[in-house]
């Protein structure tokens, strides 16, 4: 039998710094930011009067996706001004998630807590600012003393609402993205590691080595699954942002 020595977590999600506090994660994050900028820069240089092709097609499709499937579904027509913010948020997260399945890179940048946490804090600041701007100090008032529930329930509901709005929302937003991408990364590592260990096992039993194709098939399937998860998590992060902004604008409901 062979002993399977799983590498420690720091080996899986850490690389040596290229120079001080700049590692592979930072490279992927920079690539994601510049990549989405480049996409729209290339798209804007094309002739808008002819039928869109190539990069312009992709850019128009992504704008349409944000407008139709995220803004219109959650905020309605008067939220259409939020499209640029949501679009850049979506593209950045998506391009950070994708390297998890791209060979050589093989690491979703959102699988480290820093990026999801920062994005969640940005969203937190924005929706609270929107709440104060649209409702003034009624924003806090309506949150801790909601008029739409019976008087006896108000302190309880108010406390829960306040906690949920101020603490739990950014926390769960960050942890959801982080844990999903980390879990996906760990799954891929586990199955890659397992199939490697089985192919190279020092064993007398002849059937054991070919069995390594089983985790390999699982690895291929999970890689396809990660494509879906990367997209879905970017979508969920963006749509939750839209929902939070909308609920901060209409606090009375």
């Amino acid at each position: 039998m062979f002993a399977l020595e799983f590498p420690p977590i720091n080996e899986l999600i850490r690389w040596r710094d290229l120079f001080t506090s700049f590692n592979k994660i930072s490279i992927i994050a920079c690539l994601a930011a510049f990549g989405s900028m480049l996409l729209f820069f290339l798209a804007s240089r094309k002739d808008p009067l002819v039928a869109p092709t190539g990069s312009r097609n992709l850019a128009e499709r992504s704008v349409e996706f944000i407008e139709r499937d995220i803004v219109m579904q959650t905020m309605g027509k008067d939220g259409i001004g939020w499209t640029p913010f949501l679009l850049s948020l979506f593209l950045f997260i998506y391009f950070c998630n994708l390297p998890g399945i791209i060979p050589i890179l093989q690491m979703p940048a959102t699988a480290r807590m820093a990026i999801p946490l920062f994005l969640a804090l940005v969203v937190w600041v924005i929706y609270n600012a929107v709440g104060f701007r649209h409702n003034g100090f009624k924003y806090i008032g309506a949150m801790v003393w909601p008029k739409s529930v019976p008087v006896g329930m108000r302190p309880l509901v108010g406390a829960i609402e306040f906690l949920s709005n101020i603490v739990l929302r950014p926390f769960s937003l960050a942890v959801r993205l982080f844990a999903n991408m980390l879990a996906g990364h760990m799954l891929l590592v586990t199955f890659a590691f397992l199939s490697n260990a089985m192919f190279t096992a020092q064993t007398k039993q002849m059937f054991l080595r070919p069995m390594g194709v089983l985790p390999l098939f699982m690895l291929i399937f999970l890689t396809a699954f990660e494509v879906l998860v990367g997209f879905l998590q970017a979508y969920i992060f963006t749509i939750l942002t839209a929902v939070f902004i909308n609920s901060a604008r209409h606090i009375e409901h």
Binding site: R176, A179, N180, L232, Y235, L240, V243
Partner: protein, 89 residues
């Protein structure tokens, strides 16, 4: 459960015993954290499919709401996963 703790206690080195206990705890933490959200997500998706089958023209709206519901339900399982990572590795 008790048998597992006995196995963990049988390790001579106290550091090893602590590590073994942490590993057992991590396994239970994730396993227990997955039960509730598993039921919850099943319920959400099942109801959403029912709604889509009854009224296919509302499928887009139902799908958006379904993803929202899944996201909220799933958060609990993911917190369990984070605890698992923190304890076990």
């Amino acid at each position: 459960m008790e048998a597992l703790i006995h196995i963990a206690a049988a390790a001579v080195d106290p550091a090893d015993a602590k590590k073994a206990n942490a590993a057992i705890g991590a396994g239970f933490a994730y396993g227990l954290a997955a039960i509730g959200p598993g039921i919850g997500i099943g319920y959400v998706v099942g109801k959403a499919i029912e709604a889509m089958a009854r009224q296919p023209e509302a499928a887009g709206m139902v799908r958006t709401t379904m993803f929202l519901g899944i996201a909220f339900t799933e958060a609990l399982a993911l917190i369990g996963f984070v605890v698992f990572i923190l304890l076990g590795l």
